[in-house]
Structures are given as C-alpha cells and as structure tokens.
Amino acid sequence: MKSKEKIEEYTDKALNSLDGVERASVSPYLLTRINQKLGAEPATVWEKLIFFIGKPAIAFPALTLILVMNVLAIVSQTSSSTSAADQAASLSADDYSLTVATIYDSENP
C-alpha cells in the first residue's frame, strides 16, 4: 500500500517536473557557424544540380549505367556489323550495276 502511494507521488512529481522550465540557450557563435554552412551550400539551380550529380550515391550508379550502355552498344554493333557490311555491298552493287559487262550487254541495252 505504501509503495503504491510512493509510486503515485513519484509519478505526479515527474509529470509536474517541467512546470516553470526555462528556455535553454544555444551555444555562442551560432551565426558564424550558420554563415559557414551557408557558404558551403550551393546557391543557384545549376550549382544545386552539380552538387546533386556530384554525390557519390548518384555519380557512381550513373557512371556504371553509362558504361553498361556503352558496352551493350559495342557488343550489339560488332555482332551485326558483318551482316550490315554484306547488305551494304549488295545494295551498292545493285545501285551502281557493278556487274561485269559483256559484249551481249553492250549490244542489247
């Protein structure tokens, strides 16, 4: 019974412990520290963009993506390059009639 009263007493004391609390004050030279931070912060949109792109979390995945895209482009180009060369050769042969001329051809246009 006594302990119950004590618990109640402590609880009430704790609940009322912030009555009349004073405002805590910040440590000195806050303005100087803020100005230092402001000096380090990017101001314009372009600076913000460069700051954003320059972050490792953005820069490394972006670089990896570019590299992967380049490798894929090179691989797909080399696999299709032989067939493309053949096609180009046959097209130019058709366009310019690159065939061996015979006497029959010149006499019968």
């Binding site: 302990s3 004590k6 618990i7 109640e8 402590y10 609880t11 004391k13 704790a14 609940l15 009322n16 412990s17 912030l18 009349g20 609390v21 004073e22 405002r23 805590a24 004050s25 910040v26 440590s27 806050l30 303005l31 520290r33 803020i34 931070k37 402001l38 912060e41």
Partner: protein, 192 residues
C-alpha cells in the same frame, strides 16, 4: 506592416543584417524546441543550424499565411524528426556492427537527458519524464513538448501541427495518460 513582417520582407530581399536579427531573435526558440524533441544538446545545436540555413534558402516560400514563428516551429519539428530517424538508422547499423565484434558501435543505450532549464530539485524527475516521453507516439510527443517545454497554448500548437484545437486537446490527454502509465511501470520496477 508590423516590425516582424518588415523584418521578413527585408530577409526575403536578401538583406544579410535582417538575417542576423532573425537568428538572434529566434535562436533559442528553435534550439529549445529541437532539444525537447531530440534530447541531446549537440544534436539540437546541429538542428538549429540546419533550420536557419533552410530559412535563409526558402524564406521566399513563406507566404505569411501563418505567423513566422509558426513556420519556424514547423521547420524545426520536421528537421528534428528527420535527425532522429537518421540517428535510429545509425544505431541499428552500430548494433549490427557490435554483433560482429566491431568496436565502433557506441551510444546504443541512450544516456540520461537533463534539460538545462529545469530547476535543480526537479532534475531527476524531469529526466524520468523525458525518458518516458521518448516512448510516446510522435504526435503526442510533439504536442506535449511544445506545451510543456516551449509553453505553447493549445491554439498555437494546433496552428503549428495543422490540427484542430479539439485534436490537440485529445493528443495532450492521451499523452498525459500514457506518460502516467509508463512512469508508474518505471517507478514500480525501481521501488521493487
């Protein structure tokens, strides 16, 4: 246009001396609010700096629909809660590190917080209250902190938290009831 509104207008125009005046005028409001939420002097100091940097960068977006101090409270609360979330993530990582035997894991168990504005004879009880306060849901904790630590009225808290006065009263009621339960359990264990 009153003195505060004039000050904000000057600040919007980029006047550096008005920024200094704003910092000097509101620094304790921001620091004390942040301190009540994060319960750590160094963290509250960092948050205060972040808040004023944010104010400097986005004062143009302040439309004047609410009081400047209300806007400032909102930024402070948001920054303090973000800071807490980051710290919790770090603590979780530190805990995992400690499982693998790394010695970098520290501050896993929070230290007792003593608010510098509390009267000496009430320090111990206040520390118990702050410990219990940490276990409350976010909204209840913010409402209780603004009321008890910053001395804000229910009406002002309603404006800051974008709630009705009735909702704030309800939050305060639940906060007090939950704190009572938590403290009773704590003292029961302590006495037994």
């Amino acid at each position: 246009m009153n003195e505060s509104e004039e000050l904000i207008e000057q600040l919007k125009k980029g006047d550096q001396s008005s920024f200094s005046v704003v910092v000097n005028k509101y620094q304790d409001l921001v620091y004390n609010t942040a301190l009540g939420i994060v319960q750590n002097a160094e963290d509250a100091d960092d948050i205060t700096q972040e808040v004023f940097v944010q104010v400097h960068l986005s004062v143009s977006s302040f439309k004047g629909d609410s009081k400047f101090s209300t806007w400032l409270y909102r930024i402070t609360i948001s920054k303090a809660l973000d800071h807490e979330k980051k710290k919790k993530r770090k603590k979780r990582f530190a805990f995992v590190q400690s499982l693998f035997g790394s010695h970098e894991a520290e501050d896993i168990h929070p230290v007792e917080f003593n608010h510098p504005g509390v009267q000496l004879e009430r320090k111990e009880s206040a520390a118990d209250l702050f410990r219990a306060l940490k276990q409350l849901p976010e909204n209840q904790r913010i409402a209780f902190t603004l009321h008890k630590v910053e001395g804000q009225t229910h009406q002002e808290i309603a404006a800051i938290m974008n709630l009705s006065i009735y909702a704030v009263e309800s939050l305060m009621g639940r906060a007090k009831a939950n704190l009572k339960k938590l403290l009773e359990v704590y003292y029961h264990k302590k006495i037994a």
